[in-house]
Symmetry: C2
Subunit: 413 residues, 2 copies
């Protein structure tokens, strides 16, 4: 089965909305073993949306549409499906009844505008939307499928998983080869260094294929193969992973859904260690990343976001003279923050971050992007100066990745 | 000028990478007044990439390509441009020399693979890449332009702003009408309620157009008009904004680049107030959102991410009996956290968040998504219970938005 996405929404073209639906659906379709070769975004324009949808229907077995199902005149997806399949658009009495009941229950007026959401192309099935008012649409047309889901991600995801995925699985031939992937995740090495160490493997790739790509502060190697079952795929991945691991050593910290924070969490739990953090320029992002891991409350005791010098002194006990002599962005302060966080809650390991995320605040000696990450534990301490570039958000996010990489390195040594 | 994006990369189709480049370029092109009608994503496949690029070149004056410019065989964008314009691909000696020098300076080997990045279609211009090895490509072909930029966002953004945007501006007719937008941002009201209050304006829209859309916890109304200059656009937006403001009152908290955290920051600075936070389930995201605002150190003193009960007691002084009697996720604990954060650093306002972000930890009385947000200030306190749904990330992000909306409401009342 060959699928393609058609995302309808001027807000996507204008960059007002980030297209997370395309990423989500790409992942789910790949997981189902459905090939996806094209993704198209088009505005809320009937003619152009019809053109790209008609083209999609020519070359694909499944056209998955997102957005354009709301109540307003801007919402053209119903009209598009009707036009490209040559079907009339009719108000479905059952859908209209359910919609009216839903609106009344929420104390809202049942307007003609709202009832546009009950229009369905003839022969189409409405997919109920438990989290919103606009139902989805499923049409089978000349052996192909058009399926449209509402744009709000929470609605789309729930409906895809509970209604679309089961329908798609029924259409897949039993035992058909499926795309399996394994992502190997690397940190603490520059991208070029990683690529050089595996260059010959990438150049000689056939099956599995290998593709490297950079994330902010991490490098991922994607292995992929089509196989009838997970065991066959694993048998192809394992020797390749072993070879890559031999070349990258402990820098290869995980695979697939592993995250730096998750791997660190596992190590901390295994060794019965606890962690506390003190953040300045990252403003809470380190804590947020660490607590992204369910169960992190077992080892993560505190992150003190001490944005002001006063808080560094009062909450963490950073000595005022150290702040005055070296400035807030300095190695001694990063270490004193790490030590302070550790002491306040009696954690085994403390991590302290202080830096200049920009856009203002840089000096020639400490330009924007200068960050100190300090680690403190019972028997020692370690500090690294980072010189990062990019936007305020880039610098903050990379700082978190590098801080976690430094912590992992310490735990592994 | 009519533009379209062609993003090349299997990782985008498979959802391994979120296409932030499309959002960024959409915003920049809209800002320049360049119409953008299509966005296509295609994998690292020469034939399919050629097909969509050729189609783009038929219907658009500017084809902006992203990705596929790296050194590996997977990187097909150079070949695609050569094929669709019927030009030969040659190694450019100047680009090759600069690349070799750059690689040597970083202590890397100058391999044949690396030198693929110096291939250019005949008559094309190389766009230097100060942050990476792959140069961009600019080709003028039969009155149209194909421009390709590398996929890593930091490289792409720098090159777009310093090299592509100036070239595009030179091609725009002077005085051509440009698309102006104004985004009105609303919080603290359900989406349906916002839509109902402005439904007649949306139904009767001509110029400016009005489109509502939901963000996690906020609702945005986008006004748009094409005008020769910003003053003309503002004269069209102003009466409409006034009317919408009349209907939504203080729920309309800002416009365009305003953020909840930024608006709150301005109010705090104006009134000389300071803020401290205590977070549990949000793990630092509230602090991160507040400190996203440059200059927030003037009023934001502390966020204590007290993920453990021990930290709630030791850092914030939450009384142990309160924790034991009511549980960590409760109104008294949210208020004690707010009060504790305020007291520890002597802030004027304290905000405390405690909840269950899931996936585990829910009970019938307090299911996943139960969150308490407490506010404490010199003369009072306030607490709200939220019942959120969605993934762990949704719940954490929405909690932050609702907590900020509650704070803004308090500041405005």
């Amino acid at each position: 089965m060959r699928a393609e996405l058609v995302c309808v929404g001027t807000e996507l073209l204008l960059g007002e909305t980030l297209n997370t639906n395309a990423q989500y659906l790409g992942q789910r379709l790949a997981h189902l073993g459905i090939d996806i070769y094209h993704q198209t975004v088009v505005g809320d324009n009937l003619q152009r949306a019809c053109e790209v949808t008609a083209r999609a229907l020519e070359r694909s077995d499944l056209v998955l549409m997102t957005g354009g199902l709301g109540p307003t005149m801007d919402d053209v997806t119903r009209e598009v499906i009707a036009a490209v399949t040559g079907r009339a658009l009719r108000r479905d009495p059952e859908v209209a009844g359910a919609l009216a009941a839903q609106l009344k229950a929420r104390g809202l007026r049942v307007s003609e505008t709202q009832l546009r959401q009950a229009l369905l192309p003839e022969g189409a099935e409405a997919l109920p939307n438990p989290f919103g008012t606009a139902p989805g649409i499923w049409v089978e047309h000349e052996g192909r499928v058009i399926c449209a889901l509402p744009g709000p991600p929470t609605e789309l995801r729930e409906m895809f998983e509970s209604q679309v995925e089961p329908r798609l699985r029924r259409r897949l031939p039993p035992g058909a080869p499926v795309l399996y992937r394994r992502i190997l995740k690397v940190c603490g090495l520059p991208e070029a260094e990683v690529e050089d160490r595996v260059a010959d493997l990438i150049a000689g790739q056939t099956d599995p294929t290998i593709a490297p790509y950079a994330r902010s502060g991490e490098i991922h190697l994607r292995l992929a193969t089509k196989a009838p079952d997970p065991e066959t795929a694993a048998a192809r991945f394992d020797p390749l992973e072993e070879e890559i691991r031999r070349r990258l050593g402990h820098h290869l910290f995980g695979r697939d859904d592993d995250t730096l924070a998750g791997v660190i969490g596992r190590i901390l739990v295994e060794r019965g260690l606890t962690l506390a953090a003190a953040e300045s320029c990252t403003g809470g992002l380190l804590g947020a990343r660490i607590t992204d891991v369910p169960g992190s409350s077992a080892y993560f005791l505190l992150s003190a976001v001490t944005y002001s010098n006063e808080a560094k002194v009062r909450v963490l006990g950073v000595p005022r003279p150290v702040l005055e002599r070296h400035g807030a962005v300095s190695e001694p302060v990063a270490l004193a923050m790490a030590e302070g966080a550790r002491r306040v809650v009696g954690a085994d390991i403390g991590i302290g971050i202080t830096g200049i995320a920009g856009p203002g605040g840089g000096t020639p000696a400490k330009p924007v992007g200068t960050v100190y990450v300090g680690l403190s534990w019972q028997h020692g301490q370690r500090c690294r100066r980072l010189n990062l570039r990019g936007s305020r958000a880039d610098i903050r996010n990379r700082t978190v990745t590098y801080a976690l990489a430094l912590l992992l390195e310490m735990l592994q040594s």
